[in-house]
Amino acid sequence: MSYKIPMGPYHPALEEPYKLDLICEGETVRDARLHIGFNFRGIEHLAETRNYIQVIALMERVCGICSNIHTLTLCQAMEKLTGHVPPPRAQYIRVVVAELERLHSHVLWAGIAAKLMGFKTMFMTCFELREKVMDVLQAISGNRVNYSMNRIGGVNRDIDDPLAVLAMVEAIEREMVRTVIPIFTTSSTAQSRCAGIGVLTHEKAISCGVVGPTARASGLPQDLRRDAPYAAYAEMEFDVPVEPAGDVRARLLVRALEIMESCRILRQALTKMPPGEINTGDAKIVFSTGTATSRVEAPRGEVLYSVSWKQDARNPTRVHVRTPTYVNMPAVRWMVRGSRLADTPLIQASIDPCYSCTDR
């Protein structure tokens, strides 16, 4: 006999509202239905009531973790409508901040995953690492969450001493190689909690259109930084980690390897950063009529913005945001099928969901 277990909207693993109705037989999950929208904020509508300065501040608040990515994508779209091309140094700074954001997002996720596995010590190690990244972000931008770095035509703040950031990058790399990666890949607890759990098959990953590490952990080699480079990514050398297994362990491994690749990108961007201006100055911003679309590889996967503007209008006529969790979350239904009930919190967390982004 099957029965339904409602999980959420106050979630056992993640302090954000969404609900999963699990249809179980005994301890085995047979099916699941997902419900979102508990905290829908209508940001796309609000954006239509904001000017080009205000809308950047608004969209930065779509997400509390990848806030920079949202302003970057929005500014890239608005730059297409205004003809403002950011100078090379600004493009490098955009790469640095985007990769620092990816680092802190991935390390945060690794900590939460460790906690869900019962690895409290690893949770503390990961959060200590994340703190180092947050300190650097604070030193660069003055902020720990909403960095306010992006503007039309470049960035608001320079990185005065790029080489000073390298020490943090090396510390993160060292700790990842020495502690985090070996524990996640060799410990029997991590193996038993992650290997073969919550599998999203390659075929289902294609069908669901999943993005980011969730896709790469199911064998899909997609990454916009390489496939459709933006900012200064075309000048960076890096690999795109792909794992074929599709289980929680693969998603964990992909993120761990991406931390190493982020460090590699950061080292290049910091050492090769060209001198010069960081934005196009105070020239008047004039929008041409039309719609522009921009995409960026956020820590959780592809973010897409479509921005529509009319010439001489104060506000955009439309801003549409497609966040990565919005396409990754429906795949959880297929991941939890056949799994043990006790594994479902970890499986849900393994896509690194952001409900704030989803309920934008």
């Binding site: 297409k80 459709a228 006529t317 429906p330």
Partner: protein, 135 residues
């Protein structure tokens, strides 16, 4: 990167594709959105999203569909006759949530599918509406 000329042939389009900014726009011509979605599936393109626009001065509604093909962003625009369009959910699973969201925000009917309980969870009818006349 995919060659645009071969793409026109593979998708069976009468009009050449047009690269504007980073998006490659295709004119679906007489193709329905379902026919285009099926052709995109056959090509191995990844569905990204649907963006709805209300056109000014009673110009009706327009939907923009986006796909990704090997890093190339593909876009197709469909002007709606009335407030309805065929759903592609049954041939493109990834379109489920965005069809539901557009339905709720713009009261656009995606025919041939059933809607689950509201995604945006406000009221019991399409409610969080971005259309001018119902704001």
């Amino acid at each position: 990167m995919i060659a645009l000329e071969s793409l026109q042939e593979k998708l069976g389009l009468a009009t050449p594709l047009e690269q504007r900014s980073e998006t490659c726009w295709l004119d679906p011509g007489t193709k329905s959105v379902r026919e285009l979605a099926a052709a995109m599936n056959a090509l191995g393109a990844r569905f990204i999203t649907i963006t709805a626009y209300q056109l000014p001065k009673d110009g009706g509604l327009r939907l923009e569909y986006h796909w990704d093909l090997q890093g190339q962003l593909l876009g197709a625009s469909f002007a709606l006759a009335g407030n309805a369009v065929e759903s592609i959910y049954d041939i493109c699973e990834a379109a489920d949530w965005i069809e539901r969201e557009v339905h709720e925000e713009f009261a656009i009917e995606f025919t041939g599918r059933e809607y689950e309980p509201l995604l945006l969870r406000l009221g019991d009818t399409p409610g969080v509406n971005l259309r001018e006349e119902v704001r």
